[in-house]
């Protein structure tokens, strides 16, 4: 039930027993320190590596209350500084601790438009939980698991939440892209009474939450429910609408009072090695889109996907972990991560790496691909690689991998998934040459998230390059605040209160590298 930290003695055991039994118990400040972090319940690794059901099973209410008791309710809570959307963490945890779930849910939703999502996919260990005081000695409060519990409760109990429709401002906003940045901005702007239309290129909204992150990590009906809640709050979503094709940015500027560009960094990067166009080589984007958005994981799906028996995934980020774990679930006897650096340099979340290991994924570290090998019919038969050693630190501060001469070898495989990152998609910018972008095609913005075009804002991966869901959400939230100022004539946004540090663009959390 609890992690391997030293037990809290007889009194600690008594508190745990009483809370789990639902009996009243008063826990003193020092007694909180006796409580160990509650572990997440997980689906058995053997069973789950053959199914697409969620790996983490969530807390029960009693376990959630027990974990909430561990929070010290710091006067100056550092955890909030670690959160890109600045969720008031101690506040919702305190409501949860005293059993007032409607208040906990309202508090959380007030700060975070997509808590069911962030409670599942945020790298809490490098954000809120990293700064949690309890982590200085022992383990931090399981903030992510508690967020997930409260968010799931809110999704299951919509009737318990106030349904406030703010007075209409009469202002309109177009949001391009329905991923985490776009949906967050949509929620924030709808809350302020603005009429929001979200344009999505695919047939279903959610962006990377729908096409990228697999079912076993983020069930699609949960994303759908979050999107439905935004619709209930008055947000309009136009699917199949590719801006740059169906409408131009100039047209959106004519029709809307403000525009938020959150199109993501959707163009896959390939390795640039021979054989990359052989049959059986996928970009992670294509592989995951087929499996997740198009539902190819189901046996009766209409969209096909190759079921490799020996699958090599190139890359070490979360997308690589998602791909390799998907391959296992689709029947790969061997699913192998090939990463050119070492285990300490893996950009993926620790939990994803751990889950992949549990599910039987093999990791080949310090290995770089040289060529994809194929047979007469141009099907993949192997990946020719070279071993690497770590040299001097590079610009990112990580030690640069250097090839070891003469160490070439072949990994036999019938499928290769390339998960080494993404770039800016040219469709929007090629149809809007007036929009300023940097040398890599990412949109440049000022400290308020506004582009060079008045009233046009941008955020998420299309500004910062491939990053995380929560950083994109942070951008969406900040952009929404700026857009609100723009629409209500209080420009430039005036710093006031704790959100201004973020509003001024000084994110307290450094942008992690998604993959390399």
């Amino acid at each position: 039930m609890t992690d391997e930290t030293p037990p809290g003695g007889a009194r600690g055991d008594e508190i745990v027993r009483k809370i789990l039994a639902g009996e009243p118990v008063t826990v003193g400040p020092k007694e909180r320190m006796l409580l160990d972090r509650v572990a997440m319940l997980e689906q058995d690794a053997g069973a789950r590596s053959a199914n697409f059901e969620e790996v983490n099973l969530g807390f029960t209410e009693r376990l959630a209350v027990l974990e909430a008791e561990r929070c010290l309710q710091c006067k100056n809570p550092k955890c909030i500084d670690g959160c890109p959307v600045r969720v008031n963490i101690p506040r919702f945890i305190e409501f949860l601790r005293v059993g007032d779930l409607p208040a906990a849910a309202e508090s959380l939703l007030d700060d975070n438009a997509l808590p069911c999502v962030t409670g599942r996919v945020c790298p809490q260990e490098t954000q809120c939980e990293l700064l949690c005081l309890r982590g200085k000695k022992g383990k931090p409060v399981a903030i992510g698991y508690l967020e997930r519990y409260v968010a799931d409760w809110a999704q299951a109990h919509p009737e318990a939440l106030p349904h406030l429709r703010p007075a209409a401002s009469g202002r309109t906003v177009a949001i391009v892209g329905s991923g985490p940045a776009g949906l967050t901005a949509a929620g924030e702007l709808a809350k302020r009474g603005h009429q929001v239309t979200v344009f999505e290129a695919f047939h279903a909204p959610g962006g990377v939450l729908i096409y990228g992150i697999p079912e076993f990590r983020l069930p699609k009906d949960i994303v759908q429910a979050e999107v439905d809640r935004l619709r209930d709050n008055g947000v309009t979503i136009e699917s199949n609408s590719i801006i740059g094709k169906l409408f131009t940015l100039a047209e959106l500027r004519e029709q809307f009072d403000a525009v938020f560009l959150a199109v993501g960094a959707g163009l896959p990067v390939f390795m640039g090695v021979p054989g990359e166009n052989l049959k059986g080589v996928y970009s992670a984007n294509e592989y995951l889109t087929r499996v997740n958005l198009m539902g190819a994981w189901a046996p009766d799906a209409e969209t096909p996907v190759l079921h490799g028996q020996r699958v090599v995934v190139v890359g070490g980020g979360n997308v690589a972990m998602d791909s390799v774990r998907t391959a296992r679930r689709l029947g790969a006897e061997e699913a192998i991560i090939v990463y050119r650096r070492g285990p300490d340099e893996l950009p993926a979340r620790a939990e994803e790496v751990h889950h992949a290991e549990q599910e039987g994924v093999r990791f080949d570290f310090l290995v770089a691909p040289l060529e994809v090998l194929g047979d007469d019919e141009r099907w993949v038969t192997g990946l020719r690689c070279i071993r690497m050693e770590l040299g001097e630190p590079d610009a990112s501060g990580r030690r640069r991998p250097v090839p070891i001469e003469g160490s070439e070898f072949v990994i036999e495989c019938d499928m290769v998934v390339v998960a080494i990152g993404t770039r800016s998609n040219p469709i929007l910018r090629s149809s809007a040459p007036e929009l300023a972008v940097n040398e890599w095609g990412y949109i440049t913005t000022d400290e308020f998230g506004m582009t060079n075009l008045p009233g046009v804002f941008a955020g998420g991966d299309i500004v910062r390059g491939a990053a995380t869901v929560i950083l994109a959400m942070g951008d969406g939230k900040r952009a929404a605040a700026s857009i609100d100022s723009w629409l209500t004539g209080s420009w430039p946004p005036v710093p006031a209160g704790e959100n201004d540090e973020a509003a001024a663009g000084a994110s307290p959390v450094p942008a992690p590298v998604a993959s390399s």
Binding site: A201, H203, L246, S283, E286, M294, T303, I427
Partner: protein
């Protein structure tokens, strides 16, 4: 939703659907395509916009029923609807402003040629269309193309027009000279043969590549094709490319990626739904869709 307003059969396995898509009808240009998804659970498939009526707010899709998804689509009747239509996608065709163009269409590729020939005709470019099929019943869009210029029809069995392949008719035109550009769309072997045929004449030859794609916006990279030794995405860089520079062998191979899957899906569909369609499962197919 995009209601079907008209449907007719052009050949034994080619169907014309006219559907509502007002915005796309107004802005599409020749050479562009849409991605359609019939409804929940259905595949996303790329289809060239064969025609559009901006006043009526409709676009025309000409679909060859070769797999389960295309077979499902062509069975739609007027009044029924396609749930998702995304576009217009791809780059528009590079069109001549004057001179003489030859438009070659093989099978359902003729549907891709039609909007190009029409626009060329409208610009005052001399157009000769060369279209072909196995036999008379497989030749499509002859009347529509005649409105844009001269039409030469060819059948493999000689049952209609010239006896032989479109390449033979094209050969005569090349020998006669005076051709400024060739637009060729059809099965990969046809486009490859035509590109080889025109190369010694130095006539610019544009082909439209029906690569496998999911999103159609450059996101999946599934449609990558090698042109002039470099990888391009058919969906955003194309679908039209310089035929003299395309690696057709690679394209043909990549198009076969899901063939076993398609065959199974079609057999399954035929077995459990419409026995008459079992015949469709027998057909050998060129690309996935066009």
């Amino acid at each position: 939703m995009h209601p079907i307003v008209a449907r007719d059969q052009l050949s034994p396995n080619v169907t014309r659907l006219v559907l509502e898509a007002p915005r796309i009808a107004r802005i599409r240009r020749p050479g562009q395509f849409v991605i359609v998804r019939k409804g929940p659970g259905a595949e996303r498939i790329p289809l060239t916009i064969a025609d559009a009526d901006p006043d009526a707010g409709t676009i025309t899709l000409i679909i060859q029923a070769i797999g389960k998804s295309t077979t499902d689509l062509v069975e739609l009747e007027p009044g029924e609807a396609i749930q998702d239509v995304a576009g217009p996608l791809g780059s528009a065709t590079e069109l001549l402003d004057s001179g003489h163009a030859v438009c070659v269409g093989g099978g359902v590729g003729t549907a891709v040629i039609l909007p190009i020939a029409r626009e060329l005709g409208r610009r005052g470019v001399g157009v000769t269309s060369v279209i072909g099929g196995r036999s008379r019943e497989w030749v499509i869009l002859e009347d529509e193309l005649r409105a844009a210029g001269e039409v030469v029809t060819c059948t493999d069995d000689g049952s209609y027009g010239r006896h032989g392949f479109v390449t033979q008719a094209l050969g005569d035109l090349l020998e006669a000279g005076g051709i400024d550009a060739i637009y060729a769309v059809g099965p990969v072997p046809m486009m490859r043969a035509i590109s080889e045929q025109t190369r010694p004449f130095g006539v610019p030859t544009f082909v439209s590549l029906n690569a496998i794609m999911v999103d159609g916006t450059g996101m999946c990279g599934g449609c990558r094709v090698t042109v002039r030794g470099e990888t391009h995405y058919a969906c955003v860089d194309g679908p039209e490319f310089d035929g003299h520079q395309v690696d057709f062998g690679e394209l043909a191979d990549r198009l076969s990626t899901y063939r076993p899957f398609e065959q199974r899906a079609l057999e399954h569909r035929a077995a459990c739904k419409v026995p008459a369609l079992a015949a469709a499962a027998e057909r050998t197919t060129e690309g996935v869709t066009r």
